[in-house]
């Protein structure tokens, strides 16, 4: 049932065609954006693509591989280098595949993108982590906030996953590097970790951060951790599932429910390219519909029965034909 798979050459029929399509989409976004800008209204880029959040009949869990995810269509969302604010850059990820589900008052968003290298350690000055984030308007109203961190009257809520936090942050040099030697740490209380002491979320261990922003440089982590995230790398691609309960956990975070129509944007960072902060690949906002359409049932058993049955009938028929043929 996969309809699109952004970076799969065999499935989509070649790199050139894929790029043409991607360029076409980017160009359309640009033209629509420009016209909207001139006409003076906020572009609801939403028309270009819609991610439907299907209703699941069982808890999908946090595993991004298989299960209901394989049975719903992915939406290929093109990405470009962030080019609005310093520092620019980050065009390492051409597109992401986005899917969504909801189950029992909980929204699940799955983001998948090509990345052949796993960068899950930041234990070194030049090491940066693979990461992904989804962004929603702070309120599910009609006005779409500015893509980059929103603006003063229309904020955004961002859920970010990072590979290094999920892998666990080593706490000492020897823990990270078996050849590393530290004679003695005379004091190891929290006062010696100012970031930890003041509650910096980067020094916490959860794989997901929940952030709110109302413009550049205002990104702030919420003290609560209402968002879950988990990522799996299959050798060529990352797939990450985010989830959060529908009710808004606090200011600047959208209230969701079945029937909600809002917007979603995606950002992804490739640690191998030293992507971090504004150096990232970003999408435009696309629509997100939390509907009542159920996840298509798992047809695998029927397909197997049909195949086996067909084979059986074929064999019988062959035998019969063979027998009755003079």
């Amino acid at each position: 049932m996969r309809t699109t798979h952004a970076d799969d050459d065999t499935r989509t029929g070649g790199r050139a065609r894929r790029w043409r399509r991607r360029l076409g989409l980017v160009a359309t976004v640009a033209v629509v954006g420009a016209v909207a800008h001139i006409a003076g209204f906020q572009p609801a880029v939403s028309q270009l693509a819609t991610v439907n959040a299907y209703k699941a009949d069982a808890d999908p869990g946090m595993d991004p591989s298989g299960g209901p995810w394989a049975r719903i269509p992915g939406v290929a969302v093109p990405m470009t280098a962030q080019a609005t604010t310093y520092p620019f850059g980050g065009d390492a990820i051409p597109a992401v595949d986005v899917r969504a589900l909801h189950y029992n008052g909980q929204l699940f968003v799955r983001v998948e993108w090509p990345d052949s290298s796993v960068n899950d350690s930041t234990f070194g000055t030049t090491l940066f982590a693979d990461a992904a984030a989804v962004q929603f308007p702070a309120a599910t109203g009609s006005k779409v906030p500015a893509l980059c961190m929103g603006q003063a009257d229309t904020g955004v809520n961002i859920w970010q996953w990072r590979a290094d936090t999920e892998a666990g942050v080593p706490q000492t040099l020897p823990e990270e590097d078996p050849d590393g030697v530290a004679d003695h740490y005379p004091i190891t209380d929290d006062l010696g970790y100012p970031a930890r002491y003041v509650g910096n979320p980067f020094d916490s261990t959860g794989a997901a951060q929940n952030l709110v922003a109302e413009g550049f440089g205002t990104l702030t982590a919420t003290p609560e951790h209402p968002v879950n995230a988990a990522g799996v790398h299959d050798g060529n691609r990352w797939a990450v599932v985010f989830s959060r309960a529908f009710p808004s956990p606090g200011e600047g975070q959208p209230n969701l429910t079945e029937g909600t129509k809002t917007d979603i944007a995606v950002a992804a960072w490739n640690g191998q390219h030293q992507d971090r902060n504004g150096q990232k690949s970003v999408s435009q906002f696309v629509s997100l519909d939390i509907g009542d359409e159920p996840v298509p049932p798992d047809r695998t058993p029927w397909i197997v029965i049909l195949l086996v049955g067909g084979l059986f009938v074929g064999v019988i028929a062959s035998v019969v034909v063979w027998r009755i043929t003079p």
Partner: protein, 410 residues
């Protein structure tokens, strides 16, 4: 980009932010001629602030051997080369100094690290050193250039090296602050100290790449960047033993070679220094011009001022400290009565000295130095703290004390 005034360059320059409120600026004078590279300053800092897991390679204070050493390795040579590539043939000083506080060294006509970044994806030209480059605070210790057959003689030694003492410059236009996309770095108006807000920092290391002096460092256990905090509780007079007046930082107060003096100077809104010749730092930087900023051409208006080493090649020193080098060395080699007296105040007290007086004394000695006759006076220099109380009194001629033989036992 806003236009701000950089007096060390004698001109306006581009900076991402317009100047904010300023009252006082943390500043210090380091006399390179006296340093013995004992690293007592380095250890005073390390044992106070950076002995926790994840800070193993972190030395907010380090002393390195020039010309070959550097922490991180070749930090200055690398940036000088980048600047030359981005501003080919342009990194020059021109014009004559107006000999006032607005342009004491003439005018720098080249581009600063903010200006060479124009049109790039970054706000500041810089680079991110890897962990290997941070591994030693004084690698290549005591490695000098090749000695000539005649040995070393002043004015310039043939085989030479010198020690460069380095901490964060608490720059008036910090590159670290300019590069931070999080607005997590701030400069305090009351003392000009530059701090990273450990709650807002998200470990992007833009400051590490941007700081030309490489004094913002990454800590992998908290995944944030940390930097020298100028021992701000001491500067605020919070230490109980300082009786509420500003006290010098740990690295300054522990200096064995008595090379360091730290102060707080009054500054104007445009970051020039308010006229205050009784302030020892102001006196050395603006009246005598014996102490010079480190690589002022980078454009951050750094606030550690160095008395250049007498014996090193002038061309090398001019690249490092700007065009004021020759005059500064002349002042140091043939000091005025006031300067000679003031040099005795280094490390005479741990309180920050806000004002000094010189009380004239009798002739102590007449010398012949380099064919010139010099008279040394046994003047007395007195230092005063923030409350105007006397905290140090030193004479130019060190008193000689002869111990009786009876107690001369080791």
């Amino acid at each position: 980009m806003a236009k701000v005034y950089n007096w060390q360059l004698g001109r306006e320059m581009e900076y991402p932010y317009a100047g904010g409120d300023r009252e006082r600026q943390f500043a210090a004078v380091f006399n390179i001629n006296r340093c013995i590279a004992c690293q007592t300053c380095t250890m005073a800092c390390k044992s106070t602030w950076t002995h926790y897991p994840g800070q193993e390679l972190m030395f907010w204070n380090n002393v390195e051997t020039k010309p070959y050493g550097g922490y991180p390795r070749s930090w200055d040579a690398k940036l000088l080369e980048m600047q030359e590539t981005l501003d080919p043939g342009g990194q020059n000083w021109a014009g004559t100094g107006q000999a006032d506080v607005r342009s004491p060294y003439g005018r720098f006509d080249g581009k600063t690290i903010f200006e060479t970044a124009n049109g790039t994806s970054e706000r500041v030209t810089g680079y991110l050193p890897d962990d290997d480059e941070w591994k030693a605070p004084n690698n290549g210790e005591d490695h000098g250039t090749k000695m000539g057959p005649d040995g070393a003689k002043l004015p310039v030694h043939q085989g030479w090296f010198f020690y460069l003492q380095r901490i964060c410059n608490h720059c008036s236009y910090p590159a670290c602050l300019a590069a931070c996309p999080r607005n997590a770095i701030y400069k305090r108006k009351e003392d000009g100290i530059v701090l990273i807000d450990q709650e807002r920092c998200r470990g992007y290391r833009k400051c590490v790449a941007a700081c030309p002096y490489k004094k913002s460092m990454y800590r992998p256990t908290t995944r944030t960047s940390e930097k020298c905090i100028a021992c701000y509780p001491r500067i605020e007079g919070q230490d109980p033993i300082s009786d509420g007046v500003p006290m010098e930082t740990r690295c300054m107060a522990s200096c064995i070679g008595k090379i360091r003096m730290q102060g707080l100077v009054q500054v104007e809104a445009d970051a020039t220094w308010t006229h205050d010749p009784r302030n020892p730092i102001y006196y050395m930087v603006h009246v005598e011009k014996v102490a010079l900023p480190l690589y002022p051409q980078f454009g951050t208006q750094p606030n550690i001022y160095y008395i250049p080493p007498r014996w090193a090649p002038r061309e090398y020193l001019r690249q490092m400290f700007g065009p004021g080098v020759d005059a500064a060395i002349e002042k140091y080699a043939n000091p005025s009565r006031e300067l000679l007296a003031l040099l005795q105040l280094f490390r005479a007290t741990r309180e920050v000295i806000f004002a000094f007086d010189v009380i004239p004394g009798p002739v102590a000695q007449t010398l012949n130095v380099g064919g010139r006759s010099r008279t040394i006076y046994d003047d007395t220099v007195v230092g005063y703290d923030a409350k105007g109380r006397e905290v140090a009194r030193v004479k130019v001629v060190e008193p000689v004390v002869t111990r009786p033989g009876s107690i001369n036992s080791i």
